[in-house]
């Protein structure tokens, strides 16, 4: 998603219009639901019809034909199965559901108060303290659970804001052009000139270490990706006949953007946002790890890992909150891939990597 300005975009180089002949037929079947008339029913009608005796029994082998038909049916069924039902998607959904549940029900699930220092310090995991206790006697398990309350909503909010800001700026740049476009896209180039976490670090350090500033920093780092995509799509859409027609009918700029352009842009933007959630969690917890995010005593996974780094031999301090980050990001990425397969079949065909 990151790139530097005017650098060669590998995708734009090789994405010539797809030649229908060159498309792997196997892939086509997996992408386009078979039209009803040509569905499995027709396919085995042939051999079975033949097997009724109109042709000599030696030329057709009904059993083999039926077997083939069944195999093809099965393949069709698996290809047409919704991407939401693939194993990775199901796992992702399950993990995310689990963490959402933990976030909502934290006070009910957590055995201890996440900021109460009422246990022995640095106890290893045991029956009373599943994940042990930390350097000032807080229960790590409870803190990991409460961490979900912070990380999940903040990450979602952050992506929503970055997406809204980036889309709006990209739409302005693409549709109105002129100096606004120059200003917006050059700012985007500037942001892309920094590796994400480096710029975020500099921004938080300048604004002062604090969760709100960390969120702001991640938004600043992530809006340009949306702007680039939106601007590119609007530039090509602006010349479409249906947009011209709408303008000739007297539609205002805003109406054109909302009614004619928006539907075409929403899909790719949602895909981008879905794939961005994991990154948002990673960058935010990275900032907290550096001491630039959530302030103590708030239970935040990144800063919990940081305290694990201080008490190096007490592995349970860092391992469990880190595992929580890993699981959430993994689930977000699994689902992000699924969303892409559902909404953007072209890139899915290019490879569900």
């Amino acid at each position: 998603m990151s790139g530097n300005p005017e650098s060669v975009n590998p995708k734009s180089v090789s994405s010539e219009p797809v030649n229908p002949k060159s498309v792997n037929p196997e892939v086509v079947r997996s992408q386009t639901p078979a039209p009803p008339a040509a569905g499995p029913g027709i396919r085995d009608a042939g051999p079975r019809g033949a097997a009724t005796g109109t042709v000599g029994p030696g030329t057709v082998r009904p059993r083999a034909a039926a077997r083939t038909a069944r195999r093809l049916d099965r393949e069709d069924a698996s290809a047409m199965r919704s991407p939401w039902l693939r194993p990775l998607s199901v796992v992702g959904l399950a993990i995310l559901a689990l963490f959402l549940f933990l976030a909502v029900a934290a006070p009910l699930v957590a055995p201890y108060d996440p900021i109460a220092q009422d246990s022995m310090k640095l106890l290893p995991p045991s029956a009373e303290h599943w994940f042990g206790t930390d350097q000032i006697g807080r229960d790590v398990f409870s803190r990991v659970i409460y961490g979900a309350r912070l990380s999940l909503p903040v990450a979602l909010l952050l992506v929503a804001v970055a997406c809204a800001v980036g889309t709006l700026l990209g739409a302005i740049a693409g549709y109105f052009g002129g100096w606004a476009e120059g200003l917006i896209m050059r700012s985007a180039d500037l942001v892309f000139a920094f590796p994400g976490i480096i710029l975020a670090m500099a921004v938080v350090a300048a604004l002062g270490p604090d969760l709100v500033n960390a969120v702001l920093a991640v938004v600043i780092v992530s809006w340009p990706a949306y702007s680039r995509v939106v601007r590119g799509m609007i530039l090509s859409m602006r010349e479409e006949n249906y947009v011209h027609a709408s303008r000739l009918l007297g539609a205002s700029s805003l109406r054109t953007l909302w009614v004619d352009v928006r539907p075409g842009v929403v899909g790719p933007i949602v895909v981008l946002a879905a794939l961005d959630v994991g990154n948002a969690v990673l960058t935010l917890s990275g900032l907290s790890f550096l001491g630039l995010g959530a302030r103590p005593p708030v239970a935040e996974w990144g800063s919990m890992v940081a305290s694990g780094a201080q008490y190096f031999d007490k592995w349970w301090l860092g391992v469990f909150p880190g595992l929580a980050i890993l699981l959430v990001v993994l689930a977000a990425n699994f689902l992000g891939d699924t969303v892409r397969d559902v909404l953007d079949p072209r890139s899915a065909r290019r490879g569900r990597a």
């Binding site: 792997n24 976490i197 350090a205």
Partner: protein
Amino acid sequence: MTFLAPVARRWYALPGLLRFTLRRLAAGLLLVLGITLVSFVLTQLVPGDPVTANLGERAAADPAVVEAWRRQNGLDLPLPQQYLNYLGNLLQGDLGTSQQSHRPVTQDLGQFMSATFELALAAIAVALVLGVGLGVMAAMRRDRLADQIIRVVSLTGVSVPTFWLSLVAMYVFYAQLGISPGSGRLNPGTTPPPDVTGLYTVDAVLSGQWTVLGEAAAHLWLPALVLAIFTIGSLTRFTRASVLEVVGNDYVRAGRAKGLAPSYVTFGYILRPALVSVITVAGLAFGNLLGGAVLVEAVFSWPGLGAYAYRGALTLDLPAIMGVSLVVAVVYVVVNFVVDLLYAVVDPRIRLG
């Protein structure tokens, strides 16, 4: 504008590659200028009056002293003027004084830079070999077991929080297994090899100190591997998609149809064009590595820019953080410039753009 015509004619008489190089060079220089602007703006954002911070409460209460101090430091000038002064200082290599080391930031950066380069170069080498290899393998065995496994592995790679993985790797390989010698670049007490490149492994080879080479390599492999994990994941995903895009082309089918050896088709027809676009991504990945270095170096006490920035973040040493982000961004721009050139050399279609 007629006087420009001969200039334009001369310009277009230049070889395409040279034109491309000059154009990209100009864009890169502008970008570097923009980066300095960003870093200037960020230093202006710092909350709290620099006067109070530097003079102390008593002196800051006296308006005459404050006025004199502001004039002396150029703070009474209009902002654009201040930016020009800032730029002038930068050009003379003055990045301010680090609050943690009480030394000029430039000096610190010079000392720590080579350690980060050694780490990042090792990591990108590992990531290129493994990422491209796995990506090609996944594409060649598309949708089969190997592909599914690689997909999960690469998704996990881009989901792991780097700082946590560093911690776990340290714990497992150093504290438990004792395979890794732990933090730093060399064992305590070992004299670094004579400074030629600043990369200890290379310098050790150049001076023939084989025991030092072994030691440096032993310290290098684990942080480099941890740092590479994210990049391995993203390169694998990109390579797979890139190869799959080429596989469907007609000329590949033609190559097969005329009976070329499968290995010849694979390497000459599929991988060559597919891997060219990987070059660009490798440039972007290098930036991610420099960002990740902040987190990895912090845990491994690797004496590089990242650990310096980490200490800067903990103590809110703004000149140090700005210095690191400035250097990293400039390096990133330079790397992408080189990568674009490389790309244009390999793929002539790019020069026309």
